[in-house]
């Protein structure tokens, strides 16, 4: 099958300047214009922008905590409007089916669930397998589990840590590793209520810094393409910018990804002792090429915060709206907290909104800043179209600012920043850079040989509308969306690394689980066939 998209303006910074050119798809892959060939299918995309399918590197779309949030909040479905039709179960609000449908309609074709508890990996993959159309991937959480902490406490060899990290990645079918408030979940079980980078985990005598540095080094030694994905300490509190700055300063030449930096962009200035430190953090990021970040933009309205940072979530119970929460002290890296929250246009909400935008606009290199709302923590991913508009239009920011708390905005630089993202920068931030960061060479661009994940947007003055309803979306060459609606239903894959397990480590794991949990290792592992879909996984060669 040969498909031709003709007449569109192709925005593909990896392969050259924006220009009108045809895009050709053959059997699921992008190809150069074939000489003398006639397309089986031609789409006239005049007046449209053609980009690679978008990639979301940090969106909580499936797994135990997400599902517990659904259980806690059956009334929350309205946050996930608009509801599409024509595909099985896609009308089921906040379901796996709707997640895939809504992402595809915005031109997203790959999404990473960034917080998979290794012991509950099967649950996560069962959910991801029921997300249609798009490809998925996961990051396995490490850094709060007894085994890692014991290795560090006992000064075991780097090779042993590497074998363990590789076993976790392989057995949980992950694409990378994330650490969440390193050591804090373990410390919280010992009634520690606050935890910073140099604080020590009781029982183990290792600092949060040591955990992060050890895992960062291990991931790098193993050749995992995605740098260690770090959810730092002290999320959301006034003064957290100091923690983020210290974490950024601690990279020491080794790559590190800092997640949802907006939630660390807070200082202690002003009458309310809650101010923006975004400019300082942006400067720190700009000056340190080891660091990539995603934002975790706040948008206004009802949402639910879902995090494995159980210490932080426990401290937020008082702010729950509505007043019901779940706090789970999980096994090792599992657990977390579900705290529903409504972002209001008050002082605090306005400041958080502005901090995110400041970071987006003041970090100069679009290859190192990633487009996220930390779905659903800052906002549901369905708010992306409005966020694109805020980034691409200073007028849109000005207009929104008039509705917000002037005192809060006065403590930020937002009004003075007039930068507007170009389409090329959007394409880098949401396509090319995520592919590079995750080690996915087959996507994020429209060059020959890439998989045919293509999003076509109808150009218009209304930027949000343009990005909300893609004119056409192709996934692996299948036309899946037309005029903002899913027209074809297919199943994507979950991308994983598949490092071979070290035999000695497998034996050690067997003995550890039998001794500590009284259960054989097969209680915690699973075969691919458990997913019961044809070829649910695809391997990424690192």
């Amino acid at each position: 099958m040969l498909i031709r998209l003709t007449g569109g303006e192709v925005v593909d910074p990896v392969n050259g300047a924006t220009a009108k050119r045809d895009v050709w798809i053959r059997d699921g892959l992008l190809v150069d214009a074939p000489k003398g060939a006639t397309a089986d299918e031609t789409h006239d995309v005049s007046g449209c922008i053609v980009m690679a399918g978008a990639i979301d590197i940090h969106s909580h779309i499936g797994g135990g905590n997400v599902n517990t949030a659904r259980l806690l909040l059956p009334e929350h479905h309205r946050a996930h409007l608009p509801r599409p039709a024509n595909t099985p179960l896609s009308n089921a609000g906040w379901s796996t089916f709707q997640t895939g449908t809504l992402y595809a309609q915005m031109g997203f074709t790959t999404v990473v669930e960034p917080a998979m508890a290794p012991y509950a990996a099967l649950h996560t993959h069962l959910e991801l397998a029921d997300i249609p159309i798009i490809d998925k991937a996961t990051l396995a959480i490490l850094g709060n589990d007894d085994f890692t902490l014991s290795l560090l406490r006992d000064s075991k060899s780097k090779a042993m840590l590497d074998d363990y990290v590789a076993w976790i990645i392989g057995s949980s079918r992950a694409l990378g590793v994330k650490v969440i408030n390193a050591g804090a979940a373990a410390a919280f079980k010992e009634n520690v209520r606050s935890f910073s980078l140099d604080d020590i985990v009781p029982e183990y005598g290792v600092s949060s810094r040591k955990i992060v540095k050890s895992l960062q080094a291990s991931v790098t030694r193993l050749g995992v393409p995605h740098p260690l994905h770090v959810h730092a300490n002290n999320l959301g509190i006034a003064g957290s910018a100091d923690t983020a700055a210290a974490t950024i300063a601690a990279t020491e030449g080794v790559p590190l990804h800092l997640a949802h930096l907006q939630f660390y962009g807070y200082g202690t200035e002003g009458k309310r002792k809650f101010s923006s430190e975004a400019a300082r953090l942006a400067e720190a990021v700009n000056a340190n090429p080891d660091v990539t970040i995603d934002i975790g933009q706040v948008m206004f309205g009802q949402t639910v915060t879902i995090s494995s940072d159980v210490m932080r979530q426990f401290s937020a119970i008082g702010n729950a709206s509505p007043k019901k929460t779940v706090i789970l002290d999980g096994d090792g890296n599992g657990g977390g907290g579900i705290v529903p929250y409504r972002y209001k246009q008050d002082y605090y909400g306005s400041l958080q909104w502005a901090v995110g935008l400041e970071l987006f606009l003041l970090i100069t290199d679009p290859w190192r800043v990633y487009f996220t709302t930390d779905h659903p923590n800052g906002a549901p991913f369905t708010a992306y179209p409005e966020l694109f508009e805020l980034l691409m239009s200073s007028n849109a920011r000005d207009a929104k600012s008039t509705e917000l708390n002037a005192t809060a905005l006065g403590l930020t630089t937002l009004a003075s920043v007039r930068r507007e993202y170009t389409l090329e920068e959007i394409a880098i931030m949401t396509r090319a850079a995520p592919a590079k960061l995750l080690g996915l060479k087959d996507r994020g661009h429209l060059g020959a040989g890439a998989i045919a994940d293509v999003a076509v947007y109808r150009k218009g003055r209304d930027i949000a509308k343009m990005f909300r309803e893609a004119a056409l979306v192709f996934k692996n060459g299948d036309l899946v969306v037309k005029n903002g609606k899913v027209t074809h239903y297919r199943w994507g894959k979950t991308l994983r690394l598949n490092p071979p397990p070290d035999k000695a480590m497998v034996k050690r794991m067997q003995a550890y689980h039998e001794e500590r949990y009284g259960l054989s290792l097969d209680w915690f592992t699973f075969p691919d066939s458990a997913i019961q879909r044809p070829d649910p996984f695809a391997e990424v060669i690192s």
Binding site: G62, G64, V66, N67, T68, R70, L71, L72, L73, P74, H77, R83, P88, L89, N91, A92, W94, S95, T96, F97, Q98, Y119, L122, H123, L126, E127, D130, P132, D146, F188, K189, E190, N191, E203, F314, K324, T325, V326, I327, L328, D329, G330, D331, G334, G335, I338, Y489, R516, Y517, G518, L519, D522, W523, F524, T525, F526, P527, S529, A530, Q532
Partner: protein
């Protein structure tokens, strides 16, 4: 040996599927009683969506109570693994189903290796003592916390008030002993199930745990009354956004534990076809309805009163599958212990969907 029947007559499986599909196609409001592993549940929910039906689990009443704790309140929880490793004080709340007694015994027979590492002690707080609860408490050497004439919610209320230092009219046996154990335990854990008491009692328990967390740490382990039912609830949540007692109108799911209580719907003649599953075998459909019945059950004989019976296997016994396990608090891949020719629920439902007009495959 027959695996399919129309009425009481054995028939080839294809005939039974065709006949069942006819019943489904002509139904205006089919209801599904689920009892299957994750994949059987996924298929059944997808079929219910296509047909505009409603579904619940066979253990729907107790499941609804467990679900209500979360939808109405929430709470603080931990896993069986953490309880085993970290808790030197375990409080069993009310009645815990027999399926979990082996787990409780394993805790009683082991010691924590993390946290305070004190010798583990067990208490049992209950209302009016039942034979079963009393036997379990004695077997585990759990110290009773009981007040004369107090129901479980009342006993929990008294305990909560006592721990807050409030004056209380009633008293609980061994309360001072409990306070002493609590004072040295770094991570006390309360173990409960949907069988422990009504939702109000479970909410009271969570209030007590919240109090303890103001200055120290405490948590609870939730052991579902029925692991398969809880697995169905979790599966339903990711597929539709809702727990069971969900129905579909114009392909939109809605959750309403009253409206979609399918036993009530059958009794009140709101439903016109009942698809009843029982993979654990040896069960009969609940009485009280006179609507046509399709039985997907582990049986070697036709289900009494069923228009169509198809014998199905159970995941983990007859075929591989995925089930919820309260031993780990998450899903587990289970291998067939005694592989048989009995088809899985998901394969039968797939065949039913393809036998419906339109012959469209299900998404699960």
């Amino acid at each position: 040996m027959s695996v399919a029947w129309i009425g009481s007559q054995p028939v080839p499986l294809t005939d039974a599927v065709r006949n069942a599909a006819k019943l489904l196609a002509s139904s205006r409001c089919p209801v599904f009683t689920l009892d299957a592993d994750v994949h059987g549940t996924r298929s059944a929910i997808a079929l219910a969506e296509r047909l505009g039906g409603a579904y619940d689990h066979a253990a729907g009443d107790v499941l609804a109570k467990e679900v209500a704790l979360f939808t109405d309140h929430g709470g603080m929880f931990t896993t069986p693994g953490e309880a085993r490793r970290r808790s030197s004080l375990i409080v069993i709340v009310g009645e815990i189903p027999a399926a979990h007694h082996e787990l409780l015994q394993a805790w009683a027979d082991s010691q924590p290796d993390l946290g305070d590492r004190h010798k583990r002690s067990l208490f049992h707080i209950g209302g009016i003592e039942t034979t079963e609860a009393g036997r379990l408490a004695r077997k585990l050497k759990a110290i009773p916390l009981r007040g004369e004439g107090l129901s479980l919610p009342a006993a929990l209320g008294v305990l909560r008030a006592a721990l807050q230092g409030q004056r209380i009219a009633a008293s609980l046996s061994n309360i001072e002993r409990f306070k002493k154990a609590l004072a040295t335990a770094q991570f006390p854990v309360f173990v409960f199930s949907g069988t422990s008491g009504d939702t109000a009692g479970l909410v009271m328990l969570q209030g007590l745990i919240a109090d303890l967390n103001k200055t120290g740490r405490a948590s609870s382990v939730f052991l579902p009354a029925d692991d398969d039912a809880w697995g169905t609830a979790l599966t339903s949540l990711w597929m539709t956004g809702f727990p069971p007692r969900t129905g579909f109108s114009n392909s939109l799911p809605s959750y309403d534990p009253g409206r979609w209580d399918i036993q009530r719907m059958i009794r009140d003649k709101e439903a016109d076809l009942h698809v009843w599953m029982s993979t654990r075998g040896g069960e009969t459909p609940p009485l009280g309805g006179k609507i046509p019945l399709i039985s997907l059950s582990k049986t070697n004989a036709p289900t009494s009163g069923a228009k169509v019976t198809i014998s199905v296997g159970k995941a983990g016994i007859d075929h591989d599958g995925v089930s919820y396990s309260s031993r780990t608090g998450t899903f587990r891949a289970v291998q067939a212990a005694q592989p048989s020719q009995l088809p899985s629920v998901s394969s039968i439902i797939g065949q039913l969907a393809e036998a419906l007009p339109g012959k469209k495959a299900l998404p699960c």
